[in-house]
Symmetry: C2
């Protein structure tokens, strides 16, 4: 069954059509940054209707959004990077696109995609963290997405690793969450601190030149061999690893999948996180595998389309 | 169906017989401290056989032990306070008691009891932390105990709250786990530190008199109004609360039940932990209820007996 998947992020919206395989039959990406609540729903409806025109057989839609969700009512409860608070987004979209709509947290959608087609294929118990501007998550338990008592669960970016750590991002009232310490945003901050501490490093010279030290700049400097930049990424890996230790001790999953933009850091970020689990989780949780996501940036869209199909079939 | 429950702790073994209700038809408690691997299995077999003599209709046994468990094979994998490493404890007991034996982690058993008969009755998603010398845990998801991929999961005491915190206890290679920062052992340590910092406090005078400052002494001083002792307990509540923030953000449970000996601290420990969840968890996880266990010290035995019955019925 052809279904439409929509992956709404803080900077772009990806919409695609898939049919039981992880490749899109049609897809399109548009910017989503700065849209108001009203406008982002218009944008979603417009792009979904465009997908329907391209693939008229598409019978249902799944939408992943970066928010806590009430799964029963299809409401967005709260969100960090978009203006979607308390919005009955599922019903609003249903009215405008004319086919069944399912909505869920974007981390859950990436988890579903990796569990069906990617790095967690064949597992019964897996976790996923998507590391980008923030950190999202998904939980795959007994072969199903786990959503918490009303569908808001699996906010794995808001596992605390440092009780005295950096304040977390907008809409999270806590500090020292793994999102605050190991997201792309945090890697940029670690990089700026390294640049200040080591003015002779490549990062330090960038800072002196007035360049912006963000996650991308840190990654480029590290790839070119800069020790200060590598240390900034390893520091994030250390914090990330401690969150994975907690999650391994809690869930004893078969695998933890790391996805999102920060996968660009590759082994510089993943290897220290893996080592932390091997060294600091309890036996036998220290055997939990930590691996990179396989489906790349399309995972959210693919998972959303799979959700659309599954909810259609369960109707 | 009458079944036998055995709750093996680091200091005592409680064995009882129950029949579908949380009251014991027969029970007995004996010390377990300092027993070797061989002897603790003898002790278990002896007490279970005593229960069978007292209630000959008892048809199955459940045993809760403070260890990570391989649920398929009935092996104890690793344990903190007892010598049970890599022991095929289920089969060893089965041979000596002549009726079906199920084993599981003691935290899971207390969770099962509270979910069936206690503070988590009627919920579909709940967590339990048992706070004593260490911190154990149990997870109740979709109306079932969650055990992880081989049965070792739910080590909720080993959720990290302070990456730079105190080294955790024997057999845990990490530091800053909630067990290291908010267990009874940790409360004793916070109390000793408070006594050193404030020599004029009741705790400070106890220390000067050469008395041992442990969790019990801290609790007594706090009950008598000593500010230093209250602050030591509140500090533990702050760390405990941050672990509950992480767990609320991950699971969005309906309720988190706090059990174990540290319940003696009552509101002094529970109230600051509750406040932390209200203030620092994401919306709507900040609505997670944090409550005291209802079944008291018998929870582990009652849950173990319930497990014995459930595994018998599923045979």
């Amino acid at each position: 069954m052809e279904t439409i998947g929509a992956d709404l992020g803080g900077t772009k919206l990806a919409v695609g059509v898939v049919d039981g395989r992880p490749e899109a039959l049609w897809k399109e990406e548009v910017p989503s940054k700065g849209y108001s609540q009203e406008d982002v729903v218009d944008l979603l409806a417009q792009q979904i209707n465009k997908a329907r025109e391209a693939r008229p057989k598409a019978a249902a839609v799944g939408v992943g959004i970066p928010a806590t969700i009430d799964h029963e009512t299809g409401h967005a409860i709260s969100t960090v990077n978009l203006d979607l608070e308390d919005l009955p987004i599922r019903d609003m979209l249903r009215e405008r696109v004319g086919i069944p709509v399912a909505i869920d947290n974007d981390g859950n959608m990436a988890m579903l995609a990796e569990a069906l087609y990617g790095a967690a294929r064949g597992t019964r118990h897996a976790l996923l963290l998507t590391i980008g501007t923030g950190i999202g998550g998904g939980i795959w338990l007994n072969g199903e997405i786990y959503r918490g008592s009303t569908g808001a669960g699996a906010e794995l970016g808001h596992v605390v690793v440092d009780i005295d750590g950096h304040p977390c991002q907008k809409n999270c009232p806590n500090r020292g969450c793994v999102e605050a310490m190991a997201s792309g945003t945090a890697i940029g901050r670690h990089g700026r601190e390294a640049a200040e501490r080591e003015p002779d490093s490549a990062l330090g010279r960038l800072l002196a030149d007035g360049a912006e030290i963000d996650a991308k700049a840190v990654n480029e400097a590290a790839r070119a061999g800069d020790r200060a930049a590598k240390e900034a990424i390893e520091l994030a890996g250390h914090y990330l690893g401690q969150a994975l230790v907690s999650l391994s001790n809690i869930f004893q999953p078969e695998v933890i999948v790391l996805g999102g933009g920060a996968i660009a850091f590759g082994e510089l970020l993943i290897a220290p996180a893996q080592r932390e689990v091997e060294r600091f989780a309890l036996d036998p949780m220290n055997k939990t595998r930590v691996v990179a996501a396989e489906l790349g940036p399309a995972a959210g869209m693919i998972g959303a389309a799979a959700l659309g199909r599954m909810e259609m079939e369960n109707r």
